[in-house]
Amino acid sequence: MLLIHCPYCDEQRAELEFAYAGEAHIARPDDPAAMSDEDWQYYLFVRANPRGRHHERWRHTHGCGRFFNAVRDTLSDKFEVTYKAGEPRR
């Protein structure tokens, strides 16, 4: 069970307090209506799935309830850093 640092609580807590929430830094387009079907399809379905550094979202569901971002290595399963939603990509 992973230990995850919540950047809002500033505490390292057990994974069972958290919920995974998919790839990070995929902002909802400002004007979806202006997008082509293909661009919209990419936004909806296509994800990076990298081998290595993965930017992803977690929610501290059973803690502060906040969504935040993290960089986790998909090979070693180790977190490099977690940071608040809205902060620039690390």
Partner: protein
Amino acid sequence: MSGFRLPQCGRIDRSRPVSFSFDGTVYQGYAGDTLASALLANGVMLLGRSFKYHRPRGVLGAGSEEPNALVSVTRGPGRFTPNLRATGVEIYGGLTASSQNRWPSLKTDLGAINDRLGMFLPAGFYNKTFMWPRSFWERLYEPAIRRMAGLGEAPTEIDPDHYGATYAHCDLLIVGAGPAGIDAALEASATSKRVILIDEQDEPGGGALADPALWPWLEESLKDLAAAPNITVLSRTTAFGYYHDNFIGAVERLTDHLPHPAAGLREKLWRIRAGEVILAQGAIERPLVFAGNDVPGVMLASAARTFLHRYGVAVGKRVALMAAHDSGWLDIFALARAGVAVAGIIDVRESVAAPLLTEAEQLGLTIHLGHSVIDVHGRLAVKGVTIARNNGAAAARLACDALLMAGGWTPSVHLWSHSKGSLAWRDELGAYVPDRANEQTRCVGACSGKWNFGSGLVLDALPTPRDPARIKAFVDFQNDVTARDIRLAVREGFKSIEHIKRYTTTGMATDQGKTSNLNGLQIASTALGLPVVDIGLTTFRPPYTPQTFGALAGHAKDALFQPTRKTTIDGWAEENGAVFELVAQWRRARYFPKAGEDMHAAVNRECRAVRASVGIFDASTLGKIEVVGPDAAEFLNRMYTNPWKALEPGRCRYGLLLKEDGFITDDGVSARLAPDRFHLTTTTGGAARVLNMMEDYLQTEWPDLNVWLTSTTEQWAVIALQGPLARKLLEPLVSGIDLSEQAFPHMAIREGTICGVPTRLFRVSFTGELGFEINVPAAYGRALWERLMADGAAYDITPYGTETMHVLRAEKGFIIVGQDTDGTVTPYDAGLDWAVGKKKPDFVGKRSLARPDIAAAGRKQLVGLLTDDPADVLEEGAQIVADPAQAIPMTMLGHVTSSYWSETLGRSIAFALVAGGQGRLGETLHIPMPDKVVTAKVSGMVFYDPAGARLNV
């Protein structure tokens, strides 16, 4: 009789004799014995039958590596445990154990015919042979094979034992209380670290328990550890898995070693988070590979030494040693010094270290260097061995009743591998040792490859002049895999050890190849002509040894498997005979049968009452979210398909929620209480999901919106009062609210009091009748319910459950998200075009509704279905076809999503998802069932009061 108890040595308590039974025979041992040591002391060498060939098997090892001596233990009704290693079962008065995989008895096992047919049962035999005809596999081949091949029987009764669980945190966790682990703990005892030292055996000491010279040190060390306030020692505790971030799972066995019935928990699961982990798991001796290496009486040399020094048991009266490693010499010296006759030392090496030769000569032992055992005589027990020079010449026979194998050592890297630490091959050890750590962990002692047992020769199998294709030299004892099987796999083209393992099943038994993996690798390496490192390494995975389901489940079973959520009115429903169903985690009243009624009769009566007078329904489980803030209307406008900004305070609206992909995910009626405050409702099962989704958008997409979301599901009790007499019943109880149609129309909300309690009163209807949903603070739910029941008696008030609610809503064409939709249904598919705000520039899912596949013709759409025979009630889930005469497999147009007997209409009604359904109105479709084909006509979904005349009254 081959084994016996020695007069003095051992750590057993000879003042406490213990009686136990094995296969119905009563034996005597001493406190401190394991089942294996006590049986050996009684001369019992035969403990089980092997998995595939039903070969007679004895004890190979003395600890958790034991692959052969698996037994079943019965501790009374429901307390049956199969596949326990006899070397780890502590005896107690009344222990009842039995052997496995034999019939009719251990000595006469008819399954042993497999051993004679062994030539015809090579690797992959079952897959190759029982291929045809295919249909015979499930019915004939597999059951027959399962009867023949196997381990212990699965328990058949419910386990009455209790299992505990705990979390623990420490700075340092040490796994293994052998000399290396104890040294690490002693070192840490001088620090302020919180330390846990765990060991799987009944007493700490590990290898030191088999070395009397270390006993004074051991006793002193354990005293020091006991006195250290920062050290916790857990015995009979197996660390079975090493997980992320130094999280270790361990099971402590509390009462299995005590006479039953024993008080307290059987086992306790420890979830330990450690700052640092020190692995001191030791090493396991390797068997040697030669013909007959599995005959009872052939065992690991180190095991014989353990039986001698720890249990005071000689494993034979005349013992021979087959060695490829120095350590075996030390073991046989120990036996010789204890007075056990030695038939000879056979060593495959041409020369060994001079001190060993000197000591052997002093003890008067015969030495055969450059020799190997090429055959073992005896079937149920060793009677002798044939040895030959390594070049095949000069065979000789030695009489003995036990043969020790010393094939070198394998570091126990199990937990290290769980932690994803890397391994490095060491040629001189013929083994992998820990290399780079992936967690805060290190290995000490023998499991790191450091030991003082001398050196040895690494080899795949002993040389033999016999045809290797005609002998059974076992590699994996538990799964009955021979060297021949592995060579065959290589000949058939398998090159990776991962494939060889799966094809031959070597290393795949319950012992995960503790004694077999490296021999298997060496044989594959020789057969392939490749170095071991080039053919890969299989990965150890948890658990280190098999654990009980009970320990892992703990109390999370039966009623405690998951929470049962109950409303404040649930108690009344229970007292009044409700039949319940689970909806998400909620327990909901399904119907309220009166004496003699079945569900059908009860639901019909409840339906009639709602339509004719008034029904009362506990709707408290509805998800509720309070949405507050200056941007609340803007937020809802973006989330839901409908427009919300123009909704006036005091009014309600049906909200439809899509995911960004355009498919319906939830719905519910919500009310605007004030310009900046909404009372949302969601489906019972969707409450948490919807709140999570809304939080996600609010926090991450639109953090500029000033809105607060609060779950209020459990704050409100909700009582639905539905039926033409609902207003009459309610009116006298309510103050501050004008209930008239003009002042309080359908789809409105008012705040006031009811029976003196504050209420949010909704005028809504999920039944098509005049209806109210009364929200009161949850604590008042039952009191209000009882008052309404009492006052409602004059109006024939009838409590109804979810089943009636379902029928009534279906009569009105209302869908249930999750029943009539399945995550692939858009608002257009569901006929809910009216709920989509087409003028809104954007909402969640809007862009997806214009995707080509969603706009395309022929999608499955929700429609009504009316069977031609009104008495036919369709089965939910039944498939729908256009032409029942077409060939199988038929083209299926869709399926029935909801289907009921409508008492109101005197006929069946149904909803279905049908391809192009909305264009098929009036068309006849067919629903093939096992006994007949039902025909039905496609209709609209509103079957009752389409104009809503009964609502707006």
